[in-house]
Symmetry: C2
Subunit: 402 residues, 2 copies
């Protein structure tokens, strides 16, 4: 029998218990041993909860119980979660987590302790919720030089953008509705400003490069400036607008960024709508492969955590290889990247735009309130400098993707 | 250093050598040891080939060389390939293969020998080419009860159907063109009659159920009866036509079949075009996840074989768990399955169809040569019985999918 402790009895934590209890027979068969939840750590009491008897308030009960082999850290944050993870790993207990913030910040250190102690630190649930993406990168695409990863990594923003596209609604209205329905948090900043996607693309980039991508240095732009009008132009161009995490490796330089992009219908990410996530991985032998599914939610996320529990059970006394060095990867300067931009301007500004970015294409979406234009390919910094000269006439800009 | 032998120097075999040589440094780093191709087995000579010196004609050279730890069986067929695989496994050499026919037929036996000998029999490349799907099922979705797998599993037929859809062309014309371009074999039966997809869904179903799905008992229908006219009706219904391998587990009964289906635009498989493959997996906790990429081709397939080589290198002396029992799974009788059907009839037959299947819906595609109708949900056998009565008036029928 393998005893598991769950740290944090919130949404994901209760999901972990539910997944283990619902599929116990199957999971135990796959793990090779009976899997049991022995402790649930939470500061709160849960009177009447069916697992009340497993609740403990003191983490030391778990740490000092040698029969606990696997710990699920689903508390979130980088304070106590970091301490408890280190404690567990140092005791030789494997840790499975959905905590992307912690993985992004301390991944290599925690992986290092796990290796030293012969246990595992697994984090499939930290990116893409229930979509297997960490394992494909670490254990499946091992014959590939991964050259590019492009992902829709945040379900809240994808839901908002899909809804804006479908209903012609504006950002603020859809956000409000999403908050009422519980799809967006009351403080939506981490999602809508792109910080959540930034942590996830940083983790994926680190695994792709084998070095650490510092998420604090990743250029990040959210979706708050996207309007219903932008979608009208996107549609006229046969495109959609998606918040993408992008990571591209070229020689020694690595471009990592998060921003809304206008992507074409040929891009497999084009059809990824609502709360779904998808990650497109380009390898030098395989070409594109894509991983699609529910990127968040109680059970999908918990399923990924429990999948890691099974892997820990199967790999007791053995550390599954994960090539992620603490050394920081060199990031390319986003300003130097060349691409095309869609710009939306006041009708009277169109001439100035065409003069500023000659050789582009006007986009006719049958609107009189504004005009659309796609610039030719130019450096981000050159675009920014010229766009600034347009002043008030510039109503919006979105990068063009593949 | 880990020595690898490649059995068969055809398309995939030369791809395996190319992938190992192209990405040698990365692959060796991930494997934890230098990976070297020591032998290539083929009956033919390849004068002037850069790897000519590694060629051997006698399999015993490989089997008797204890320094060869991993064998890539990429010969195909179930004759010599079966013998050589058993020989290698019995010697404790791990085997990685793209040979779906062999895996479908002898999977559990070969897995059993590998387990007994403490080595591995891995077959990621046997389904979905370079798309990781075996590993997600075996090692990632281990917290899930997988309830349904639906896949576009054959690139040739998907290419043909996509082209028929896009160009309004008929099956025979597109097949001929595909053969000229090398996308379809001169003898296309295995692809267009669904046999290839049948082997692949049988492998996936066996992994899903943990028991053996005998591919010879799987109901299999190909795409040869699909016409350009069917696509006109599909379009009018907002649908596409795809050759699907379907596997559904319900209680003790398992439905496994291969047939063309008309699927709606909401189905994530709808956008999978050309030579791409995709597999949609429905778990009881996660819901749908999808795996998309190139399902065939030299380098994608070879990449999957070499990914398995890395896994074998990482797991020397240890057998990666694979729950696939030799016991045969009970398959449901396809005749008893209830679903809707699209039927295409001569204009004069429409009334008879509406009388035979009351409560369905007529499909208006603006055609005068034939008429389209969608039946209400009914059992396959009841549909077949009534359809037979329509005689010559019935021009075609296609199952409706999700």
């Amino acid at each position: 029998m393998i005893n598991v402790a769950v740290l944090g009895y919130g949404t994901v934590g209760s999901g972990v218990v539910e997944v283990i209890e619902s599929n116990k027979e199957l999971i135990s068969k796959r793990a090779g041993e009976q899997i049991e939840v022995k402790y649930i750590l939470d500061l709160r009491d849960f009177p009447g909860d069916p697992y009340e008897s497993k609740l403990v308030h003191d983490v030391n009960v778990i740490m000092e119980d040698d029969s606990v082999a696997i710990v699920c850290e689903v508390m979130g944050g980088v304070g106590a979660a970091y301490q408890f993870t280190k404690m567990a790993l140092n005791k030789g207990k494997s840790v499975c987590t959905s905590n992307k913030e912690l993985v992004a910040k301390y991944g290599p250190e925690l992986l290092g302790i796990a290796k030293e102690k012969g246990c595992n630190y697994l984090f499939e649930a930290s990116v893409g919720g229930g979509i297997p993406i960490i394992r494909p990168l670490n254990s499946a695409l091992t014959a590939e030089k991964v050259e590019k990863i492009t992902g829709i990594l945040n379900g809240t923003t994808n839901y908002i953008l899909s809804k804006m596209e479908k209903e012609g609604a504006d950002f603020e209205d859809v956000l409000k509705e999403a908050q009422e329905k519980g799809y967006a948090e009351r403080n939506p900043e981490a999602d809508v400003e792109g910080h959540d996607a930034c942590r996830k693309i940083s983790i994926l980039s680190s695994l792709m490069l084998g070095k650490t991508v510092n998420s604090e240095k990743v250029y990040t732009e959210g979706i708050t400036k996207i309007t219903a009008a932008d979608f009208v132009y996107a549609k006229a161009m046969g495109r959609s607008i998606k918040l993408l995490g992008v990571s591209r490796s070229k020689g020694e330089e690595n471009l990592v960024m998060v921003a809304p992009f206008m992507i074409s219908a040929e891009n497999p990410l084009y059809m990824v709508n609502d709360v779904f996530n998808a990650i497109l991985v380009k390898g030098n032998m395989l070409g594109n492969s894509m991983y699609y599914g529910k990127g968040a939610g109680k059970l999908p996320t918990a399923s990924a955590v429990v999948g890691d529990v099974v892997d820990c059970a199967r790999n007791q006394g053995r550390t599954i290889p994960c090539l992620w060095d603490a050394k920081e990867a060199v990031l390319a300067d986003v300003d130097e990247v060349e691409r095309r931009f869609f710009v939306r301007v006041k009708p009277e500004g169109l001439e100035a735009v065409m003069a500023a970015f000659p050789g582009g294409e006007q986009v006719d979406a049958g609107r009189s309130k504004d005009a659309g234009y796609v610039t030719p390919s130019l450096k981000e910094k050159d675009f920014a400098a010229k766009a600034e000269l347009l002043g008030d006439a510039l109503l919006g800009k979105i990068r063009l993707g593949d």
